[in-house]
């Protein structure tokens, strides 16, 4: 996968790591899912606590459009909502929870993206989206039993 843009981009391997992923979590509802992945990024020093509320607000305002594909939600808010460092959080869920999408619920792959500038944000989104379009990649994510296994998937793929 080559990036032909001359804009400085960030590779996914830089954004995601052992501290920002959690495998096979049990949550009761979508709010707990957003809270959970958000707290990972807060603990890793990547976002301010306020960014979690911003992601929830965007979801509430925009409806369930963040559920971009069956089982996959991509949470993000704006850089000024509290991003400290570019980051990507991922929580895989033991059991999917509904986010209110007419066709793509329930969600078991919860991604949260934080970018500090718009251009890098879009390129990171695109890089992630390219991977999420591959069934084998999704299978690996869902099969990962530990946080470390999950992190390794991004380490070796990108």
């Amino acid at each position: 996968m080559t990036n032909s843009s001359d804009v400085k981009s960030i590779s996914l391997g830089d954004l995601i790591g052992p501290k920002t992923v959690k495998a096979q979590v049990q949550v009761d509802n979508w709010e707990a899912a957003v809270e959970g992945v958000g707290q990972l990024l807060v603990a890793a020093g990547k976002i301010k606590v306020g960014y979690i509320a911003a992601m929830k607000r965007v979801l509430k305002e925009m409806g369930p459009y963040a559920v971009i594909a069956p089982g996959i939600v991509l949470l993000h808010a704006r850089p000024e909502d509290g991003v400290l460092e570019p980051c990507l959080g991922l929580m895989t869920l033991k059991e999917g929870v509904p986010f209110g999408h007419p066709e793509n619920d329930p969600v078991d792959l919860v991604f949260a993206l934080g970018a500090v500038d718009k251009q890098a944000h879009i390129l990171s989104l695109k890089a992630l989206a390219e991977l999420l379009g591959q069934a084998e990649f999704l299978r690996k994510l869902r099969a990962a039993a530990t946080d470390r296994q999950l992190a390794e998937i991004f380490g070796t793929t990108v």
């Binding site: 925009m62 459009y65 971009i68 594909a69 879009i122 695109k126 989206a129 999420l132």
Partner: protein, 97 residues
């Protein structure tokens, strides 16, 4: 031909979808203008085709522009099939509801 992308998650996803469509068209050797629209400001803008996620039809009620509704925004195969069909319809002057 102008294709607009309209997503519900603010600036990022419309642009992401635009980049995907750019890739698809480039691979097919097709030239078209692809513009990302913002949900808050798109009314009054013109396009031949609007690509949006399933569920957004309600925001686009009343438009006569050819709509392409995508279920899986990361599935290039789905996007490609639907976009090419829509472009052919628009070129042929076929109206589809």
């Amino acid at each position: 031909m102008r294709i607009a992308t309209l997503c519900g998650m603010g600036f990022g996803t419309s642009m992401m979808l635009k980049l995907f469509i750019d890739d698809i068209l480039k691979a097919e050797g097709i030239k078209a203008e692809v513009v990302p629209w913002d949900l808050g400001t798109f009314k009054g803008q013109q396009a031949d085709i609007i690509v949006a996620p399933v569920g957004m039809e309600s925001n686009l009620r009343g438009t006569t522009t050819r709509l392409v509704l995508i279920k899986n925004l990361v599935d290039k195969a789905e996007i490609k099939t639907k976009i090419l069909e829509a472009m052919k319809d628009v070129s042929d002057g076929v109206t589809r509801g």
